[in-house]
Symmetry: C2
Subunit: 148 residues, 2 copies
Amino acid sequence: MQLTHFTDLGLRVLMYLSHPEPHRPPVTISEIAERFDVSRNHLVKVVHFMGQQGWLLTTRGKGGGLALAQAPDAYRLGTLTRILEGATELIDCAEPPCSLRGRCQLKGLLDKALVAFFDVLDEYTLADATASPTHEVIVMLHQWRPQA
Amino acid sequence: MQLTHFTDLGLRVLMYLSHPEPHRPPVTISEIAERFDVSRNHLVKVVHFMGQQGWLLTTRGKGGGLALAQAPDAYRLGTLTRILEGATELIDCAEPPCSLRGRCQLKGLLDKALVAFFDVLDEYTLADATASPTHEVIVMLHQWRPQA
C-alpha cells in the first residue's frame, strides 16, 4: 500500500514551504526539484494542482516563486492527502470487473478502514509534520547553496 | 492509495474458499482464475504464499485443490492484509533518498494512520467480508459451470 508519487511530491513541497527563511529569494520549483532530487516536470503538475486548490500562492516571472497561502497549522494532513490522492480505491473492483462487484462486503470494510486512516491524519497539520527535527532539516535545505 | 494486486488476489481467493459447496470437486487455481478473470500465474504465487502462512490447505495432483485451513471467522482482515502487503511503506523515503529522511515527522504520522487502518480491519474477519449478499454471489460462482 503506497500513496501516489503525486501525493508524495505534494506533501514534500508543502513541507518545504512551511519554514520560509527571511531575506532570501522566493522558493522556485527548480529549487525544490534540486533539493529533493525529483522531476521538475512532476513538480510543475502538483504545484499547479495545489495552486488551484488555493493551498499555494504562486507568482510568475523573474523573482517569482511559491509560498503557502496560509499558516502551516491551517493545513490538515488528512484533507491534504485525501485531495492529493483523488478518487481513492484501495482495490480496483472495475478492471477487470470483479465477479463480486456491487455485492462485496469487503469493499465497505476497506472504505471504513480508509476513513480511520484519514481521520488520524486529520488530527495533525502541516505544522506537526514539520516540527523539530524536521524543521531544522528544512531550514538547512533552504540555506544550502549549490557550489559554483 | 491502493493495495497491491497480490493482496487483492489473495483476499479474493480466501473469500472464494469461504463458502465451499458440498458435493463438488475441490476448488482449483484454474477455477478461481476463470471465475475472477485473473492471471493463473499470479494466483499460483499468492496461493503458494498463503499455503506457507498456514492459511490454506493444498492438495496436489488429480483431484487435488484448495481449502481454508480454518473457519472464516478465524481470519482477521487486518492481519491478512498486513501480511499480504508485506513491508508497507506509504511513501518511498529511500528511492531517491529523501532529504528529510530519518528526521521526518510526517513518516511517524503516516505510520500511526496506517496502524488505525489495520486496527479497523482487525475488527472484522473473512466471515464478515463474505456475509450476505457476498455469500450468495460466491455460492453462485461455485455452482457456475462453463458451457461446453
